[in-house]
């Protein structure tokens, strides 16, 4: 197995070397020339609004009084510390992320491994598993709401038929968030599956052949060849899936309205409701600012962890 590990290391090193090639000066100038129009537009319509939004966090901006904004320092941030709904929303979001990221990625990788087999009909299953990824989250949410109805939903009818009592699912403060976790993992794993599948197909078959010669079993091959080879993709997916998970809003908004008893209220839904429904732009902007900083911190931590693992 030592030989296999060394081969993987050499491959990764080679890729790193290729990425560090320097460009000619003229090419750099041309590249920036072409990028300038897009950069200007991005600054005007993305960067500047973001800066404005963050500055609103220090004001009492009320949507119906745009010309009457007053600087109030850190008042909005102080309010956050005692805002029970906000705190619960944050904890709900953390709970969702901690549950859905490993579940979704495990499902995606598992499906990718299955579909990677060269057997008849694999194309159908690839399409079937990917389908939820192209459906609107609103549509998915409504469908699952109907299926999960505690009285007449399809899921409960199935449970009753196998001897399990009807479950409240979305109507229970204890079950609702976990129900949303499962639904979200199901709807999102198809996208990650395709990325994993692409990664699997790029793994050099000779590595597995060498492992076979060394007498490695299926689990060992998975652990020492598949996972290390997929590490760049895995890192990318962990980061993107985590950030995406923190942005949970559609499913609880459509399925539960943030309830029961705020058990599924998420940060983004909270921001939307306070900022637009209740017109508290200032406070919502402050929450957005803090949440953005938190997301940046999370991204940095994840990257650092992966970098340390790679170094080891």
């Amino acid at each position: 197995m030592k030989t296999v590990k060394n081969l993987v290391k050499i491959r990764n090193t080679t890729e790193h070397y290729r990425n560090s090639e320097h460009y000619k000066k003229g090419e750099v100038v041309s590249a920036f020339g072409f990028l300038t129009p897009a950069m200007v537009l991005a600054i005007l319509f993305i960067v500047l609004p973001i800066i404005l939004a963050f500055t609103y966090g220090f004001t009492d901006y009320y949507l119906l009084k745009p010309n009457d904004k007053q600087f109030i320092g850190l008042e909005n941030f102080k309010r956050m510390l005692t805002d029970e709904v906000l705190i619960q929303s944050f904890l709900n979001t953390i709970k969702f992320v901690v549950c859905v990221v490993p579940l979704q990625l495990a499902m995606a990788l598992g499906l990718a491994l299955i579909i990677n087999k060269k057997v008849k009909g694999v194309g159908f299953f690839r399409t079937a598993y990917f389908s939820p990824a192209v459906l609107s989250l609103v549509v998915i949410s409504i469908l699952w709401t109907v299926m999960l109805n505690p009285t007449s939903g399809l899921i409960n009818e199935i449970l009753v038929n196998i001897g399990i009592p009807k479950q409240p699912f979305l109507s229970s403060a204890d079950q609702a968030m976990y129900t949303i976790v499962v639904i979200s993992a199901w709807s999102g794993c198809g996208y990650q599956m395709m990325i994993f599948l692409a990664g699997l197909k790029n793994i050099d078959g000779s590595l597995y052949e060498a492992a076979d010669i060394d007498g490695a079993n299926v689990f060992q091959k998975f652990l020492y060849i598949t996972i290390p080879s997929l590490k760049p993709i895995l890192m990318f997916l962990v980061i993107t899936t985590t950030i995406q998970a923190f942005k949970l809003i559609v499913q609880p908004m459509v399925m539960t309205g943030g309830g029961p008893d705020y058990s599924t209220m998420t940060i983004l839904q909270y921001i939307y409701e306070y900022g637009f429904r209740h017109r508290n732009i200032g406070y919502a902007s402050a929450v957005t600012l803090v949440f953005t900083i938190f997301l940046v911190f999370v991204s940095m931590v994840i990257k650092k962890l992966f970098r340390e693992e790679r170094a080891a």
Binding site: G33, F34, P37, P66, V146, T151, P168, V254, G259, H278
Partner: protein
């Protein structure tokens, strides 16, 4: 070649910037612009378009009226987003529509202009009492409600006919008042019978009462508040004081606890209503009774012709209460309060009167089934059609419009007030099946606490 690309890129950027700025150019400043949330192809949108067309034809010498339809999305977000953007840009239209309870917030922000000084003599008094109340803030009139609404109780006639005589005797006549206790008693007996009956009328039976609580879960908080604030009204209390910002001692008063405790009996096991009822439960024969908005009438007669529905009045919480207590109100026309030209304001109000006079009110009923807001137009409600179920329903609604309809609370923070009451009180009682007064009091106290924090900015 490189220079060519550079020039093209600069040109594209320039066009992009120009396109952004040019899109801000509106119509003629002389035209009176109306924004409405009704879709152009919806009966409501069509009736406005027709009304505007008539005005323009009959007043060619006056500024022409231009109506723009901005379709609602979800909970009204499309239209409201557009309106919010216009407010931010100081570019509001001359006339626009708002849901009645939202008027106070816009007045509080200085966005709406009062109408009293510009309306024709006696025009305001032509509206029903509840519609005047809906549009009045701090004693001044700001919103001309073009449509009223109503909620009543409906029941499945086939199910009721299958009941034994002693239970059928509990069903009130269409012209008879009854109380929430009586409603609950009837529901309980119906439920007990239905669960043991093999009558085909109960084949699809799910629960006794449909309350539309799932709509609250889906974010339509106002439906919950609209349907159930009358529980408090009928017990001589409310969700907020008349000042529009005081909730402590009102929302959590003893009378409120009493009213909501009676309401909670519906969720006592075996429960009579569910926070997770099936969609269109009453329509599809799954419930015997239903708290039904006026729109059910056309919905049922058009799409569920086999369902025989009967209609009775909204239950009164306290038998001795003799004030107004039934749900009412809807969208209204308001004017831009930032307009300072007196002559133009007069013209704008003249258009608003055209859109809300007796004739218009009658037209809206015929075109869209809108309940008339003008006293002189209420008789246009047709209670003598070929459909006896339609006739009875509209007789009940007409009675309520004329006698018991009460406007929703006037409060600058109404959206938040509505959400908290619907979600943290009504829905929570249903989902948790809470029936004891002490816990309901806790729910109300917690709601008061949240609302007080939010309402701090409105207190002067």
């Amino acid at each position: 070649m490189k220079k060519l690309f550079l020039y093209v890129s600069m040109l594209v950027l320039t066009f992009s910037l120009v396109a952004c700025s040019s899109s801000e150019t509106g119509g003629s400043d002389e035209n009176i612009v109306i924004w409405t949330q009704a879709a152009a192809d919806h009966p409501e949108g069509k009736m406005f378009a027709e009304r505007v067309k008539q005005y323009n034809e009959e007043h060619p010498d006056k500024p022409q009226v231009e109506i723009q339809n901005i379709t609602r999305a979800g909970a009204g977000s499309g239209y409201i987003d557009k309106l919010n953007a216009a407010i931010t840009a100081n570019d509001m239209p001359d006339i626009f529509t708002l849901d009645g309870p939202d008027i106070a917030a816009y007045v509080d922000s200085g966005l709406l202009g009062e109408l009293d000084d510009y309306m024709s003599e006696g025009f305001k008094e032509g509206f029903t009492e509840s519609i005047i109340a809906q549009g009045t803030v701090d004693g001044k009139f700001y919103g001309m409600g073009y449509s009223d609404s109503g909620v009543a109780i409906m029941y499945n006639e086939d199910m009721m006919n299958a009941l034994p005589e002693e239970i059928k005797g509990l069903v009130p006549a269409a012209d008879e008042d009854w109380t929430w206790d009586q409603f609950t008693e009837l529901a309980r007996k119906v439920d007990d019978f239905a669960k043991n009956s093999d009558d085909p009328a109960f084949k699809e039976y799910e629960s006794a009462v449909s309350l539309l609580l799932p709509d609250i879960t889906a974010g339509a908080y106002e439906t919950g508040t609209y349907y159930f604030t009358p529980l408090l009204w009928g017990n001589d209390t409310n969700i907020v004081d008349e000042d529009g910002v005081t909730v402590d001692g009102v929302l959590n008063s003893e009378k409120s606890v009493e009213a909501l405790t009676k309401f909670s009996k519906l969720f006592e096991e075996p429960q009579l209503a569910s926070a997770s009822e099936s969609e269109k439960a009453f329509h599809s024969g799954k419930t015997a009774l239903s708290v039904s908005g006026f729109w059910y009438v056309s919905e049922l007669t058009s799409n569920y012709p086999n369902l025989k529905f009967k209609t009775v009045r909204y239950p009164k919480m306290n038998e001795s209460y003799d004030g107004l207590y039934t749900p009412s109100g809807s969208w209204a026309f308001v004017r831009n309060g930032q307009e300072e030209d007196e002559e133009r304001i007069k013209q704008v109000v003249e258009v608003m009167e055209w859109l809300n006079n007796d004739e218009a009110s009658e037209e809206y009923y015929h075109a869209n089934g809108s309940i008339p807001t003008r006293v002189n137009s209420i008789d246009v409600i047709d209670t003598n059609t070929d459909n006896p179920y339609h006739n009875e329903a509209w007789s009940v609604l007409k009675y309520q419009v004329e006698n018991t309809n009460k406007s929703r609370p006037v409060s600058p923070g109404y959206p938040y007030l509505s959400e908290i009451f619907a979600k943290d009180v009504i829905l929570k009682i249903g989902q948790n099946k809470t029936t004891d007064p002490a816990t309901i009091k806790e729910y109300l106290d917690e709601a008061v606490k949240k609302i007080d924090i939010e309402f701090e900015k409105y207190k002067k």
